[in-house]
Amino acid sequence: MESFLNLFFYADSLPQFLHTVGGSWGVRMACMCSVANFANLVLHVIIGGVLIGLLFAHRELMKDKFFLLLLMGIGFSAVSKFIDWWMNMQTATGTTVYWSNNLDLWVEGLQFIGMGIILYAIISKLFYVHHAGISSSSAS
């Protein structure tokens, strides 16, 4: 296992120009998770935008709890990602490491609430059973 995992630590064997380019380009962001958070935030905006567009174009979909829950979950998650990214920016544009346990708890809390709502929406949709054909007399 150790030999296998060592394959992933190839930085020492990279040519020098990659070190130079990678180091000089990426370091301006203090932490590469800021790029990941930014891409993630854009993704949330796109998906949220598509959902809002869909709901406006087909008003009848608003009756379906699924879409509203999905939108709510994406909203929570997007706020979480924004706070995370904002924290990255505070570090990257400042001269000291910015870290707030309080804000980090908000990031994680909002993320898990968002994930929970999305999962609830998907799972309840997947396992929804139509009872329309069963009357109370025939069910008993």
């Binding site: 990678g22 854009v42 993704l43 990257a92 000291t96």
Partner: protein
């Protein structure tokens, strides 16, 4: 033909989603590593790693410019791979895929050992054998040393470019050798 309409769009996105979910669930100690990395590299925040003289902090515009640069690179990467895997999908779907792939491609070489260490430690503890022997060497000589040496970003930069180059080579190969992939009407 029917075969041409098939693609792996949802499968690939779900696979990456499942991977991230697993890392999120297992990677509780991510914060310790992240905090350690930021504290160890604190000097790098204000000082150029290469020359160790020039201040790098360029304020919000420079930061946003770096974001935009990386996003364009990620979009280029995703366009190449989506052209390879599902050329018939529309632009919006390709953009969504690009962002997912970009987020995945950047930390892949770090997250594989990261995930293996966490999973091995969790299961080793659960079944009572404790932390496996490979964990400490990989953790200390590999991951922590990577952060201490400030090589994390070199890694991620390289990953994106390797993914991009590989995608371009495969795409060129597909165009050259797999002529049947073209629409019949063309």
């Amino acid at each position: 033909m029917e075969m041409e309409r098939r693609d792996w769009y949802l499968k690939v996105i779900l696979l990456i989603g499942a991977w991230f979910a697993a890392v999120t669930v297992f990677g509780v100690w991510e914060y310790d590593i992240l905090k350690a990395e930021m504290v160890l590299n604190e000097k790098l925040l204000a000082i150029d790693r290469i020359t160790e003289t020039a201040p790098l902090s360029g304020g919000v515009p420079a930061y946003l410019l770096a974001m935009a640069t990386w996003t364009v690179l990620i979009l280029a990467l995703g366009m190449v791979w989506s052209q390879l895997l599902f050329p018939h999908r529309n632009l919006l779907e390709k953009v969504v895929f690009s962002l997912v792939l970009g987020v995945f491609a950047m930390p892949i070489s770090i997250f594989i050992p990261f995930f293996m260490i966490t999973a091995a430690t969790v299961f080793g503890t659960l079944i009572g054998i404790g932390t496996p022997s490979f964990v400490v060497p990989i953790l200390v000589d590999g991951l922590v040393n990577l952060f201490v040496s400030g090589l994390e970003q070199v890694y991620e930069f390289t990953n994106v470019f390797v993914f991009l180059a590989l995608g371009l080579i495969l795409l060129a190969g597909k165009k050259m050798f797999y002529k049947r992939a073209r629409p019949l009407a063309a």
